[in-house]
Amino acid sequence: MTATLSGIDKPVAARAHSLVGTWHLTRLALRRDRVILPIWIVLLSIVPASTVSTYAQFYPTAASRASLAAGAAANPSFALLYGPALDLGTAGGFIAWRMGGLLALLIGLMTVFTVTRHTRAEEDSGRAELLASTVVGRYAALTSAVALSAGASLLIGVIQVVTLIGAKLPAAGALAFGAGIALAGLVFTAVAAVAVQLAGYSRTANGIGTAVVGVAFLLRGAGDSTSDAHWLSWLSPLGWPQQLRPFAGERWWVLVLPVAATLVIGAVGYALLPRRDFGVGLIPPRPGPAEAAPSLRSPFALAWRLQRGPLLGWVIGLAVGGAVFGSIASGITGLVGQTEQTKEIFERLGGTDAIVDAFLSTMVGLFAMLASLYGIQATLRMRTEETAVRLEPLLATRVGRLRWAGSHLVFAFLGTALLVLVGGVLLGLTNGLRAGDVGASVGHLLPAVLVQVPAAWVVIGLSTLIFGLLPKFTGASWAVGALALLISLFGPVVNAPQAVLDVSPFQHPPKLPGQEFTATPLVWLLVVAAAALAAGLAGWRRRDVG
């Protein structure tokens, strides 16, 4: 009896043992993610339902909805950015179009970051090694990360379904919408489970994962925006949520695609795991040069090595963003529709009479806000170097503190200006291509770019100030950037008082093109930025390192 039992139990026990500790690791991961994951979940799950009222407000009549549909159909850039507009005559159809593709993209990023954070990033830090030496099975870490990521995806889907039904949209459409987004999350969870086996480091794993998300986006965009290659978007997990046709005659069989993809890709990840060593990816690390290039001889050369990767990524991102929005710009009049109300709302967002100029001006402003986030990231790199004790050996050479800080701040300040410029120039370029006059269009936008830069510099100046005076709170720089962004993006929409709006530096530059140019606010912005920078550097010279 005993012999029989143990004979049966053995293989089961062995398999169970490889998962031993999964629950403990999942609880640890939940605790570590108790801030970041709820933010993702809330943002991704409540957005669709909250758009319902916006739709009713912007497009109250059948005529305005028809004009929206015509505008969307006339401009393939919309299909590239948002996906196919299947039915813009209902709130549900509008949400599926405007939000479906975007949310699938974001949930893809969320899952990639989450899985990597609890697998390879832990291995890189050495913490996982400590855990692996305890009673923890081989598959426990991956399983807990996958469970966390999949659980968050499913929760997002459920909340979307519940809130959409709560907003009085058809239940079938809501279910298809939520299922599509949640399953996209599962697919990319599985993709991340493979990426973390391949990559040598967490950063590479995140890179592989986001690259797959990016390729999926391009495949879907290319398939949706061209008439003869629709099949391309069927290859993309980001296309499936919209191929489900939520609120537009649901096609339930499409659910098979993400489920099958998740199982197959996930199985690959689990099969690869035992084939690699702990802390090492399947892609072998490439050796570097035995001697440094002659150019690697200054703090700036080192800062370039450390900062160039992220800067390049941001340049590409803003270039693509500029190109896409520039190609949409001339079609914006059709999209916004002819109602006075929508025009008014758009103007309140920071525009003037000319609706296209208002759009371009808003876009350049948005680019400046995004670029300021890069600026914060580049500034905070200083603190990362400091806390990782890589700075001390540098300051033990004849490199002075100011020279070292300057080598990074060059990227923060000039890199931010470069990003606004790249976004603005491509915006003007693609807009000019559609309008037929590239030179005039780019020339039209250059002043708009230049006036936005000082506003972004204020944010970076404040970030430097925090680094110099309150080094333990450098994370607060993100709060500064986020506050400025939120005020400028949503303040005007909710009719916030002027005193609140004035807090954001991005409210102050003249809204070019369209508005009159005035130098006074720019001078003030530059003065504030310079003062914050000077105070931050003075604090940095005086404070302890470490």
Partner: protein
Amino acid sequence: MGNAISIVGLRKSFGRTQALDGLDLRVPVGEVRGFLGPNGAGKSTTVRVLLGLLHADAGEVRLLDGDPWQDAASLHRRLAYVPGDVSLWPNLSGGEVIDLLGRLRGGLDQRRRKDLIDRFDLDPRKKGRTYSKGNRQKVAIVAALASNVDLLLLDEPTSGLDPLMEANFQEAIQEERAQGRTVLLSSHILAEVEALCDKVSIIRNGRTVESGTLAELRHLTRTSIVAELAGPPNGLAKLADVHDLKVDGNRVRFDVETRSLDDALRQLTSVGVRSLVSQPPTLEELFLRHYAEKSEEAGK
């Protein structure tokens, strides 16, 4: 010849923690000084003040005849530093880090670089993240020793090195000493300190408690004596500096402060000595005694 390092009454606190509490340290040019103390005694804090990374709250600190805070950049041309916990840039190879740090210091000796890389058996092509703890340490050691500097600040430089590499390190430091370089070596490896250092300074709770050659320090402590006497001992127990006395018939065993060794021996010879074994204190005992007093003090 002046002092390469001169610290008087150095104080530094972090919030409520008093890291350094009136520390004194003088290291003449050309000396290899051991810098010892229990964990948390303030060794790394002292080195960081010397590097101008931390601002002293009070006290006078001179480094190579300069002010380590004011003249940091110009002084650093003449010194090299090896931290106890080396963190490398993940996307730079070890060779690149060695060259970068050397160039930022004002140049490095290519022959010596090659020689040290061979000697420490370091693969300079690996990227920062792929090195083990010991190999990261080697990168910093090679970068420091390949530079032509007057002063080496070494903060537990050999943590994580294997015994073979430890021996190579000691050999390399002997060469530095022969070149007339000043070295401040913070270390927990007593054999290393004994092999390399002219003098040692022991710090505890942010204060220097002892400074001198190892011979001098030994003199300050106890010798163990085991003796077979002609008859039962008398008078030993009355000596103030005799500790842990055990008498077993004609056999005695006790520890005696080195300063009272004469008195103790006189007592023994007055009875008649048949055999005598005397053991000088080992380094470990010496330091354990100094370190342990910390907890005794804290107990009071």
